[in-house]
Point group: C2
Chain length 195, copies 2
DNA sequence: ATTGAAATCGGCCTAGC
DNA sequence: GCTAGGCCGATTTCAAT
């Protein structure tokens, strides 16, 4: 199977800017035909390089609160699922967890809601301390770096080389370093493999 | 002019999940006609509530580096434009600046590139200190909070009420608390107003 | 209802065996 | 020389307005 290439990167850049651009326009700019663009976009969707088509919103329209940065230090308990639990809190938009048990949450909340919000998602004894900062500015740029586009093994998260295995399970393509990683993945996911 | 309402919020939620969903599907779910959905989406685009149609990518495919959190403390110099300068650095995806002169940058870089990257965007004397943390997990959820959808004054950033002014300048709609804010905006933006 | 875009299908070409 | 996979052109289907 062909690996993603420069043409794919160019398509992604154009879609990032405007996902409604007609395939014909993209086709002209990257110098292939419209059906080819379609094929490649589909393939990248299956490969989960493209996670979804979506919209960027002006977040400032949706809050009566103020942008905050919550800086949490945790006791050395389990951190699994904590990132997800926090981001599910209404108003929290980003959560970053570091390897040294710090958690940063960014979102728009009224400040009196911060404490209750944290307790919604966490056990009180997990929290060593937290500090709240006011945000002055934020910027986001999901740009594509110059580097190569790689696929990552669904089991061990390493980069999959040319000799990797790609199989189709439950409607998305999964890729693995080798058969042993594939085996592991299939064992962990109880649904019977389709191939 | 009609203010955005619950129907608009419902449309946005659906588009967030899948911006390629046909207007017909959306129309059924929010109980209006497809042309109405079209009109509302267009209006929200003009109002810049919808900033753009785009794609979400699996960032892990685009880096040979590792996810880092760079925690910068600045000397109390001017912070203007600094957020933008940092986010323009290749590999940096998010930048958050707090009111107490801390700057958090998140991105994928090889660690030996962190120092040079910062010096690309900042003057050395602006940096008080910085620490680099390894990221273990990250999550994002650009969800729409239950609260009201508000428009913000392009001059003073306050919420624009029912009595606000909305005018069309250079292809997007701008809204203002009142005529004085509109005047200020027009003076600052040298292009002649179209109305 | 009209217009235009996207998915589809069949044939072609190329690369790898 | 044969096969598999990618690419393209024409057509059909479907969505947007």
């Amino acid at each position: 199977m062909r690996s993603p290439d420069e043409t794919d990167l160019a398509i992604l850049r154009l879609l990032l800017e405007d996902a409604r651009r007609p395939y014909n326009d993209i086709a002209t700019q990257v110098d292939v035909s419209a059906p080819t663009v379609s094929d490649r976009v589909n393939r990248m969707s299956e490969l989960d390089i493209i996670e979804r088509f979506t919209i960027d919103l002006d977040q400032s329209c949706f809050t009566d609160g103020v942008d905050l940065l919550i800086d949490l230090e945790l006791r050395a308990t389990s951190v699994d699922g904590l990132t997800e639990a926090l981001v599910a809190v209404d108003g929290i938009e980003h959560v970053f967890t570091t390897t040294d048990a710090r958690v940063l949450a960014i979102g728009s909340l009224r400040s009196e809601r911060v404490g209750p919000a944290l307790l919604e998602a966490l056990d009180a004894e997990q929290i060593e301390s937290y500090r709240v900062h006011l945000l002055q500015a934020r910027a986001r740029d999901p740009s594509i770096t110059a580097g190569p586009l790689t696929l990552n093994c669904d089991t061990c998260a390493d980069t999959v080389g040319e000799d990797g295995v790609t199989v189709s399970l439950d409607d998305t393509l999964h890729h693995f370093c080798d058969e042993s990683c594939q085996k592991l993945f299939e064992e962990r996911n109880l649904t019977a493999p389709s191939s």
